[in-house]
């Protein structure tokens, strides 16, 4: 990890971050059942550690790719940085405007028009209505849905919806981009357009934080790769080296993760 630059503090900083989940031994999703079990003292929890004292620092303009098998803690790391989940221990600092390019189309409502959805989506990402309205033309133009902006989203094709979501989410001037998996939507031509926009961010020196299973993508777009296993950083450095070591480990197979757990994301 590079020593801290006093003029440009790191864009993302994790200091001894540990995230522990309490997972009920039996999933009790009914409040009535929970109340009964509680009275009987039959609620037991397992503890699941998703991140174990992870420290890392990402300088502004760095492009970091996080790799690792399912359950290694990748999604949790993303969640802690996206502020969706608070660390149990340790500290997370993120400096700058964050654009989470994850699960595009969250909050899109099929009965509302494209225009209304763009405004709603923008406010979910912390922008104002006026800001979104002034960008409406540009967003619709990029998504290539100009003529349909006032039609309800349920009349859109899947491609149109995805394009509008991508256009809305990326129509910002973020400092930090959080990217989950490949961001490729629509037909080949639109995918090319997406890539173009992403390289635009790259050229303007935005910080990228990418979580993916695609080692090729990390090797192609990142300057730094972090390999997570079982909540710990196994390797951190040149994408070529890290990815090579990861491939070797994956091929050897025998050395499966110590705790074969599923990706816990969204289990709530």
């Amino acid at each position: 990890m590079a020593p801290e630059d006093p003029v440009r503090p790191p864009a993302i900083q994790l200091e001894g971050v540990t995230v522990r989940y309490r997972v009920a031994k039996e999933v009790v999703s009914s409040i009535k059942e929970y109340a009964i079990r509680r009275l009987q003292g039959r609620i037991e929890h397992d503890e699941l550690v998703a991140l174990r004292g992870v420290s890392l620092s990402v300088a502004p303009g760095d492009r970091v790719g996080v790799i690792g098998p399912n359950g290694a803690g990748k999604s949790t790391m993303m969640k802690v940085i996206a502020r969706v989940c608070r660390p149990t221990e340790g500290r997370v600092v993120v400096r700058g405007r964050v654009a989470p390019l994850l699960q595009l189309g969250i909050g899109f409502h099929s009965e509302l028009s494209g225009r209304e959805n763009v405004v709603l989506q923008g406010t979910l990402l912390g922008r104002s209505r006026a800001e979104m309205e002034s960008r409406m033309e540009a967003i619709a133009g990029f998504a290539e849905i100009e003529g349909f902006l006032d039609a309800p989203v349920r009349t859109y094709s899947t491609g149109m919806g995805a394009r509008l979501a991508f256009a809305t989410a990326t129509d910002v001037d973020p400092d930090v981009l959080l990217i989950d998996e490949m961001l490729a939507v629509g037909d080949e031509r639109f995918v090319a357009k997406c890539h173009e926009r992403m390289s635009g961010f790259r050229e303007r020196g935005k910080t990228f934080f990418l979580v993916t299973h695609s080692l090729l993508q990390v090797e192609k777009t990142c300057h730094r790769a972090i390999w997570l296993l079982d909540g710990e950083v196994v390797a951190d450095g040149e994408p070529k080296d890290v990815c090579e070591r990861y491939r070797e480990w994956a091929r050897s197979g025998a050395d499966a993760p110590r705790r074969p757990i599923e990706d816990r994301e969204g289990l709530e």
Binding site: P6, V7, R8, P9, E15, V19, Y21, R22, V23, A24, V27, V28, S29, S30, I31, K32, Y34, L48, K79, V80, A82, R83, V84, C85, R86, P87, G90, R91, V92, V93, V94, R95, G96, R97, V98, P100, L102, Q103, I106, G107, H109, E111, L112, E116, V119, L120, T123, L124, L125, G126, S128, R129, P152, D175, D180, R264, E265, G266, L267, E268
Partner: protein, 284 residues
């Protein structure tokens, strides 16, 4: 991890900084976050109101028709069949019923929105309280719309309009505070358990009958009166209905109980919501 470890450059260029070590006490930091996301509250209210009224042309009319139909049915039952003898029963009933509907709808809607909130906050940071406040906001819009049929009934029954109607904003404010508190609790529980809304809806029916809406409190036999007396909704409904029906301002005691109920609900509901904040974003 000390407060002073913040780099000096942060303040000079106004980059927003998220620092998990500087969040402070959830009770206050969540209130601050809600304020920062007030625009989202407005958009969520607009979304729900628009969706509701877009789905059918009858949307707005239905909001007004629904209490009218209810009122006609209950008037027949209670003033013709059961002969309760409350003067201008339709006005008495509707005054209470509109307020009850506001309460039941907004808290129930808060429970429904927990699904939305879970979906949204899985990947994007948004303070979850915005969904509860939006639910109460939607309830407020519907309450204001349903004043129209109330005016109609008052006019038709020849019930006098009183200057005390001007007191209604205070009653509505207290109601909104109470609903927000209850909504926060229901919402927080519904974020954890799947059957909260359904359980809550079942409990609402007996609660409704423990609130003097279809009857007058004086009708309740002395040995059961404590049930009505310990029900905060009794006072909140009375504070809303008295200016409409009786043409007087609620009594000091009634008003005091309503204010205490509203504040207690809001503070306790918020404390409960804030106390669960650490759980969010993690597995069950």
């Amino acid at each position: 991890m000390t407060k002073d470890s913040r780099a000096p450059t942060d303040s000079s260029n106004d980059l927003p900084v998220y620092d998990s070590a500087r969040l402070g006490i959830p009770f206050f930091s969540e209130a601050k976050a809600l304020w920062e996301y007030r625009h989202l509250v407005r958009e969520l209210i607009a979304r729900d109101v628009t969706v509701r009224y877009k789905r059918s042309v009858l949307g707005v009319v239905w909001t007004m028709l629904n209490p009218l139909l209810n009122m006609v049915a209950l008037t027949v039952v209670f003033s013709v069949i059961l002969r309760q003898g409350i003067e201008h029963f339709p006005v008495y009933f509707l005054g209470g019923m509109l307020f009850w509907n506001f309460f039941a709808q907004s808290t129930g809607h808060a429970a429904s929105l927990s699904v939305d909130a879970a979906e949204t906050t899985r990947r994007i940071y948004v303070p979850r309280s915005v969904f509860v406040v939006a639910a109460v906001g939607v309830g407020l819009v519907n309450l204001v719309l349903s004043i129209v049929p109330l005016l109609l009934i008052v006019a038709v029954t020849g019930h006098p309009f009183h200057a005390t109607w001007l007191f209604l904003p205070v009653a509505v404010l207290l109601g909104a505070m109470f609903c927000t508190g209850v909504g926060l609790v229901i919402f927080t529980l519904a974020s954890r358990f799947v059957d909260v809304r359904e359980t809550y809806m079942t409990l609402l029916t007996p609660w409704f009958f423990l609130t003097p809406i279809v009857y007058e409190p004086s009708l309740v036999p002395e040995q059961y009166r404590w049930l009505v007396r310990w029900n905060p909704m009794t006072y909140l409904v009375e504070v809303f209905r008295a200016p409409i029906y009786n043409g007087w301002l609620p009594g000091h005691n009634t008003l005091a109980f309503a204010v205490v109920a509203a504040i207690a609900s809001l503070v306790l509901g918020w404390a409960f919501y804030a106390s669960r904040i650490e759980e969010y974003g993690r597995g069950a």
